[in-house]
Symmetry: C2
Subunit: 190 residues, 2 copies
């Protein structure tokens, strides 16, 4: 049961966002820019970073929904998403993405853990400054979203089909558009 | 030295925001709503929560600037800010705020640490659901801002006068307005 009275029927962060549309607006805009907008990292790569950090933070809702969005962005390759969570160094992803996941894992523990060597390694594999920036901010942002979702004790159904279906829609339409289903119009427009 | 090439002369999060105005916009709007907009918790109370979480995350820039904004919002009581960081249970703040700081400290370690008892205690001391929500989200958000600032290795000058002066301005004008000094116009407007 949630720690506060959240609107019913909206799992995970959706209930929290519907409770407080004023904060939902920038929270949705941030995740839209980070994970869905045009970027030299693909949506699938960025969703894998978000999924991995949410897995490290042990947030069921976030790792499952972002894992589903990642899979939907990667030809429905759910096995790849599982492999990245369990052992990304041996997953079938680029060496650049592996180096970015190392940075994301350091940020999850605390920003000071990121070293010049970690960044140098990512850069030597082709990562740009903006990609490194976005990796740090995606990892940092999911340390927020995960704590928000778990800190309020939100409802997190164990229903893989629900996450899979929703993942496909978010992958296609983006966060801000899909949020219009449950947020007042003024909170969902950019 | 920062891990990536950030604009010079902008310490802490300001350099990172100027580097990527697309993410700066929702980041500034979020902190504006959480810490500066109308709320039943005073700006001083909310800045103390942000300062305390930034202290727990050992982020020099964030704990110093938000400590300065808190002091500016609390009749320049810098001693109170220090006391809240070191031992808030014996600081001259309300019992309700102490209960909210307990929740914030739990969120800093991870959202699942918050218990129904923690929330019940805050509620018994007068905290509303929205105040509990905002406390959880402020604490979660500073787990992001702190990691962003430290994860990029931003410049964090040891210059108390700079933070004090800036703290007064942010306390008076808010985050979005002050950010117009260093962000392109389209990123700073709401």
């Amino acid at each position: 049961m949630p720690h506060i009275q959240l609107p019913e029927g909206l799992p995970g962060i959706r209930g929290a966002m519907a409770f407080r549309p004023e904060t939902a607006k920038p929270l949705n805009e941030l995740v839209e820019v980070l994970l869905h907008s045009e970027n030299s990292l693909t949506p699938g790569e960025r969703e894998l970073i978000a999924t991995y950090v949410s897995y490290l933070n042990d947030c069921y809702y976030c790792q499952t929904i972002h894992g589903a969005i990642a899979a939907a962005s990667l030809n429905d390759d759910e096995e790849l998403v599982k492999r990245v969570k369990a052992d990304f160094q041996h997953a079938d992803i680029s060496d650049k993405l592996k180096a970015l996941l190392v940075i994301a894992g350091k940020v999850q523990k605390g920003g000071k853990n990121v070293t010049a060597d970690d960044v140098g390694q990512a850069r030597s594999l082709g990562a740009t400054d903006r990609e490194i920036h976005d990796t740090v901010l995606i990892a940092a942002a999911f340390c927020m979203y995960n704590r928000y979702v778990d800190g309020l004790g939100t409802v997190q159904p164990r229903d893989e089909a629900m996450y899979r279906e929703r993942g496909k829609r978010v992958a296609r339409d983006g966060y801000v558009t899909v949020s219009k289903e449950y947020l007042p119009a003024e909170a969902a427009t950019r």
